[in-house]
Symmetry: C2
Subunit: 402 residues, 2 copies
């Protein structure tokens, strides 16, 4: 048999391996300091606390936790999530909270319930690579609108949506990562959030709010969640991956009941339910107040790492026109812009092979793939020694290209 290609669906024929995930393999070579992954710091995982909680769950309710569970999620966990969101200022009934197998699955379900091939989805530029993959896998066309230091440019967004709508091609929804955005680290300011809701109302659209880092704020006050600004038009995705651990693959979705209902029906056919065992463990973990404790622990550690990376960038980067970086108030990432003539995709191999330092090139976060002179740096995974040495190497790489 030679030609398997003939069997694939149109969407599958267009699926590409994620460049990032392929490149991550390169960056695991010995001696390479990687700022490329989006990995949380594994030394912060609360292993011992988890062991105790798991012990308790297995002893008190083992058979139930190991059985199938309802598609909408473990009721204890949903109840804990309701309380957790309440503290964030989102008062939403448990029926509108739905446990998913990672927020990446939330993106997949969002693509599935909303998107026909050729549908237009509005997003920021840059934007999260996993969303690009998920939406493209349903044949969507993503139309990105530039971010500035206050988040997505809502004026441009309005103009773009109007253009499409006048053309009889109303976009399906607006996708945003409002808090410490991946990849840029930028947070959408309140005025812009209000603009965004106004735009959704003006054109009768849905907003998908993807907020994996929201709870990891190092300083200042949180901006109001989009979901609490509009309970009608916002479908929100959250995850345990960054505020606790990714190895359980659990997240949650919250929003208007008819959208949550449709997503639940879609999930039945996708994987029946998120892992009930993992859900039971996290419900107990939250019930004991351990999640809040863990979030505080992470904030302290990541703030220190962010400060240190910013310090080292100031120290090691050449002072040249056009070279700048963001100073995120939370999250896992910052975003470096190089002078226009530099190309981070072209530089990548040299960075990893010669300088032994890795980043993710900006083009990965651009649905059009045209972005050239930007890179994402992760500050959560590396230790301080690696941060100092890695930024020094990166500085040298750039100096060589001036």
């Amino acid at each position: 048999m030679s030609d398997y290609e003939q069997f694939f669906s149109t969407n599958a024929k267009n699926m590409k391996k994620s460049e990032i995930r392929e490149l991550l393999k390169l960056t695991t070579k010995p001696g390479v300091i990687s700022f490329a992954g989006g990995l949380p710091a594994p030394d912060l995982f609360p292993v011992e606390e988890l062991r105790e909680v798991i012990d308790h769950v297995l002893k008190s309710d083992g058979p139930k936790a190991l059985q199938y569970g309802p598609t909408e999620g473990d009721m204890n966990l949903r109840e804990e999530l309701r309380k957790f969101m309440m503290k964030e200022g989102i008062d939403i009934p448990v029926e509108q909270i739905f446990v998913i197998t990672s927020s990446q699955q939330g993106l997949d379900l969002t693509g599935k319930i909303f998107t026909d091939p050729g549908d237009i989805i509005m997003s920021g530029k840059p934007t999260y690579v996993g969303a690009i993959q998920a939406f493209h896998s349903y044949g969507a066309k993503m139309c990105p609108v530039d971010l500035d230091e206050e988040g997505i440019d809502t004026e441009k967004l309005d103009t773009e949506i109007k253009r499409f709508t006048d053309n009889g091609q109303k976009p399906k929804f607006i996708y945003v990562v409002p808090d410490f955005q991946n990849p840029s680290g930028i947070t959408l300011k309140l005025e812009r959030r209000k603009d965004l809701i106004a735009i959704a109302e003006k054109y009768d659209m849905i907003i998908v709010e993807d907020s994996p880092y929201r709870q990891l704020r190092f300083e200042g006050k949180s901006e109001e969640p989009l979901l609490s600004l509009s309970r009608d038009r916002v479908l929100s995705l959250f995850t345990f991956s960054k505020i606790l651990l990714p190895g359980f693959r659990l997240g949650w979705m919250a929003g208007p009941a008819p959208l949550i209902q449709k997503a639940i029906v879609a999930k039945q056919a996708v994987d029946l339910c998120a892992p009930p065992f993992n859900q039971a463990v996290l419900a107990e973990f939250m019930k004991r107040g351990l999640l809040e404790k863990q979030i505080q622990r992470i904030i302290v550690a990541y703030r220190e790492k962010r400060d240190y990376m910013l310090e080292k960038l100031d120290e090691f980067m050449p002072r040249i026109e056009g070279l700048k970086w963001t100073r995120p108030a939370g999250g896992l990432f910052l975003w470096v812009t190089l002078p226009k003539h530099m190309n981070t995709s072209e530089l990548f191999k040299e960075a990893v092979v010669k300088k032994k330092v890795a980043y993710v090139m900006g083009c990965s976060f651009d649905p059009t793939g045209l972005e050239r002179n930007t890179m994402r740096l992760n500050f959560s995974f590396a230790d301080k020694e690696q941060i100092a040495e890695g930024i020094k190497r990166l500085g040298e790489l750039i100096k060589d290209k001036i």
Copy 2:
């Protein structure tokens, strides 16, 4: 906001809640004996062994197990699965074994990589309801061919495929559950397996082999897996849900490298990876030889339950023309056919509310939804006392309708 319907994709508009899963809610009312679910017996879950294994994993490799993992799966688990399959007579390299978040996800990925809206998929009739849901969610048309006591009628299958192909509508693939099929309990005989492969070759097609129960054989010799009859044309799905526990949501896919590669790329956008923690635990569980032990334990218990249910059916069912049931050599289910004038969908409410016994009506397993006089009975979940009383009630229900 009133009209959320306008936002949904064409496929989402067609998604229906699973009748089974909705009905399962009814069957949890006090006093109802349910043969409806497909649940394994929770009292057999190896809770204590798992606790020890989890302890070991957290202590020896906690941070790694709680981190993100590769999309294709944990290498230790894939290596254990390679050995496990070798014992089944399937010698396949680890690169062609891929860990998925439940075999239901395998069906979703299969739908995703193969199916464009309107594509035809061949299947048995009856067939697994979760496959119907998964394939329908991609807009596929499922064309079922009757099963007899030797499995899918391959002569009819050939005729049907020829008819479609002559019409310029070559079906996308053939979906079969060859071992102790859900819902019928029927196993596809070797000659039929060979016919099936010959048909796939004749028409240049793929076969999707979904085999969640294969290892749960109570007597006799296993039929050769389709995957070992053709390494070119068979993509196989397996799961831990029935041979160990469903609460971890883990399964695996094996088959030709280009198909596995495409499914891995699709999974990146779907949920990045199956839960790495759960994978690390099952790798260690298998390494310790505990899975084989557990399978033996389950076989002994389920055989006894099957025998007992068959005994009670003989005892309590009226001896009337047209009433019969299958005698499966393994798995979790048997299949009852009532006289043609009886309608198990119409009888359901009376069964649950008046007689307090539940089954799944046959129409759920028919992609055309026309099946009327059949029902699926699960014998793995209820205890012996419940089996005796439940079958007695079912006998009374049917006697009332003669």
